[in-house]
C-alpha cells in the first residue's frame, strides 16, 4: 500500500473541476431556478392579494347593493303611498265633481221639466179657450134647444177628459 502522498496537481485539478461545475450550475441552473421560485412566489402572493381585494370589493359592492336595495324599497313604498294618496284625492275630486254634475243635471232636468210643464199648461189653456170659443160659436150658430145644448156640453166635457 502506497503512502498518503497528495498529488497537488491532481488536487488542484479536482478543485478546478468542481469550481467549473459549481459556477456553471450556479449560472445556468440555480440562479434561474431561484429566480423562477421567487417570481412564482410573487405571482402567487399577488394573486392571493388580488383575490382578497376582489373579495373585499365584492363585500363592499354587496353592502352598497343592500343599502341601495333598502333605499329603493323605501322609495318604492313612499312612491306607492304618495300615489295612493294622490289617487284617493283625485278619486274624491272626481266623485265630488261627478256629484256636482249629477246635481246640476238633475236641477237642469227639473228646470226643463217645469218649463215644459208650464208650456204644456199654456198650450192646454189655449186649447181650452179655443175649444170654449168654438163651442160657443157652435151653440150660437145652430141655436139649439136646451137638451141639445146639454148634449153638446156633455160631448165637449167628454172630449176634455180624453
Amino acid at each position: 500500500m502506497e503512502g498518503l502522498e497528495i498529488d497537488w496537481k491532481v488536487l488542484v485539478g479536482q478543485i478546478i473541476n468542481f469550481a467549473i461545475l459549481f459556477f456553471l450550475l450556479t449560472y445556468f441552473v440555480y440562479k434561474p431556478f431561484l429566480a423562477l421560485l421567487k417570481e412564482r412566489r410573487e405571482k402567487i402572493a399577488e394573486g392571493i392579494k388580488k383575490a382578497q381585494e376582489a373579495d373585499e370589493k365584492m363585500l363592499e359592492i354587496e353592502k352598497t347593493k343592500d343599502a341601495s336595495d333598502i333605499k329603493n324599497e323605501e322609495n318604492r313604498k313612499a312612491i306607492i303611498l304618495k300615489a295612493e294618496g294622490e289617487a284617493k284625492t283625485r278619486a274624491g275630486e272626481i266623485l265630488q265633481s261627478a256629484e256636482q254634475e249629477k246635481i246640476n243635471i238633475i236641477a237642469k232636468a227639473q228646470k226643463d221639466s217645469e218649463v215644459l210643464k208650464e208650456k204644456e199648461k199654456e198650450n192646454t189653456k189655449k186649447e181650452i179657450i179655443e175649444n170654449a170659443f168654438s163651442l160657443a160659436e157652435k151653440v150660437l150658430k145652430e141655436n139649439i134647444d136646451n137638451e141639445k145644448s146639454k148634449k153638446i156640453t156633455a160631448e165637449f166635457l167628454n172630449k176634455l177628459k180624453i
Binding site: 478543485i15 468542481f18 450550475l25 441552473v29 440555480y30 423562477l36 405571482k43
Partner: protein, 234 residues
Amino acid sequence: MEEISLFGSTIFNFLGINFTNTYILAIICAVLVFAIFAFGMRKKELVPNKLQNFFEFLLESIFNFFDGMTGNRQKTEEIFPLSATIFLLVLFSNLIEIIPGTGVFHFLRSPSSDLHFTIALAIFAMGFVHIVAIAKLGGFQYAKKYIKFESPVMFFVGILELLGEFTRTFSLGMRLFGNLFAGEMLLMVMYSILPFILPLPFLGLELFVAFIQAIVFSSLITVFYVLTTAPEEH
C-alpha cells in the same frame, strides 16, 4: 485483483498532470451533472412542462431540505448553489461505485474513493464558506471569532477554533473518502469471493451509503456556513 491504492491510478499524463481514473471519472460526473440539469432546466418557464417540473421538484426538494437546516431563507439561497452542487456531484460519483465491475476494471473507480476528490471538495467548500463569511461579517468581526483577548483561556479557545476549521476540512474529506473507499474495497472482495451473487446485498447497502454520504457532506457544509456566517455572540 487490482493493487489496493488510496488514490486513483494514472491513465495518462498531459502537461505534467496525472489524469487518474478517478479524476477522469470526476470530470465525466461533472459533465453529466451539468448536462442533465442544464437540459432539464433549459426552458425556465413560469408554467413548467413535465420535464422542467420534475427537475424543479428535485431542486426544490434539495432546497427545502437545506432550508430546514438553516431556518433562514436568505442563508439557504446563499449556500444552496454550493451545497446542491456538492450533493449532486458526490451522489453521482458515489453511484459509480454501484456499477458492476467497479474496482475490478482498471478504469472504473468511484471518484469519491480517491482522497484527492474528497479533499478538493472540502477545501473548495470550506474556502467558499470562509470567503463569504468575511464578506458578510467584515474582516474584523470575522477575526474576532478566532482571536479573542478577553482572557488567556478564551485566547486558547480561539486558537483551538481556528485549528478546528482545518480539522473540519480534513475530516470532511476523510469521512467521505473512508466510507466510499471501504465500500469499494468491500465490493471488490465480495466480487473476488463469489462474483454476481455475493456482492448483491452489499450493492444495496452501498447504494444507501452513497446517498447518505452525499447528504452528510452537503449538510455539514450548510451547517458550517450557518455557524461561520453567524456574528460572534458575547
